[in-house]
Amino acid sequence: MPASRSAFLRGVKGSAPFAIVIVPFGLLFGVVATEAGLNIVEVMTFSIMVIAGAAQFAAIQMMLDDAPTIIVLATALAVNMRMAMYSAALTPHLGAAPLRMRAVMAYFLVDQTYAAASVEYERRPQQTLAEKIGFFFGAVAPVCPLWYVATYAGARLGTAIPPEFALDFAVPITFLAIIAPMLRTAAHIAAAATSIALALLLAFLPYNTGLLVASLGAMLTGAGVEIRTQGKRG
């Protein structure tokens, strides 16, 4: 078996466990977006163009809250800013690939493919470029196509769900479930607490701009606490 082929299969294995997360998220997005009034073409284009669950949920929620387009975009893009970090982290390993290939990989650079690839490249840094690319697309295979399929199934299901199911609360619960496991350090907890406090205090500001101010304040708080706790340790 050629080395890049076995790397591809290793990639499939590496990200396969994430399929368990992708299916319910995709389903939920399809349902929530459909309930919010998007038609099947809009829902599918959303998932195919953006492939970023948290930002997609955030955008739907902000549009439901009648936020202006520019604020919807600023908030959703802020949720995705972490991916610049992923892009920087994988560049030493994939940066030598042809431009078109890098563009395709950038499109598929989601939380799960990043997680699988960064672990692999750290474990086997001396692999060839072809193997590293092979692994990356292997990690894409069980995750990204499922995201589209699950979204489609959710959108088809969406309108059939009665209001007793309190689906308006699917987004808050999903977000809390994503955030909770991230609260590993004092800095993360401080950032989250600042975000909540400022968002509630600034809720009176027009056009949901309070959330943007709260996010910025929370990022600075997280970074500040990180510096202080590191200083103590070092």
Binding site: A36, M49, A52, N80, F169, I173
Partner: protein
């Protein structure tokens, strides 16, 4: 309901392009140059800085109850957070929150 089709399509297209450009940034253009330490430090906190602030008003003042704090939604939110913190498991946390969301109205009827 979101009724503004122009807004929906603007958000889909611009968010799609913007997200791609974020993902392509270093891989495509900036290359192997190191990101400054302060930038990495800020980026580390983007998810925990944005999402809690987005959720907090939805938990305390849900639109579905016209902004009235609802015990079922509040209990569900706290359960989700607790399960997520203790078990570090996203799907388990969603499931726990959903169970409490549906059971609380039955219990306090």
């Amino acid at each position: 309901m979101i009724t503004d089709t122009v807004q929906i399509w603007t958000v889909i297209v611009v968010l799609g392009i913007g997200t791609f450009l974020i993902r392509f940034s270093f891989l495509g253009v900036i290359g192997s140059r190191q990101m400054p330490e302060w930038a990495l430090r800020l980026l580390r906190y983007t998810p925990v800085a944005v999402m809690p602030g987005l959720v907090a008003p939805l938990v305390l003042w849900p639109a579905a109850t016209a902004g009235e704090t609802d015990p079922a939604r509040l209990a569900a939110a706290l359960t989700t957070l607790a399960v997520g913190l203790v078990f570090r498991n996203v799907i388990g946390a969603i499931f726990g929150g959903a169970v409490v969301l549906y059971l609380t109205p039955l219990l306090i009827g």
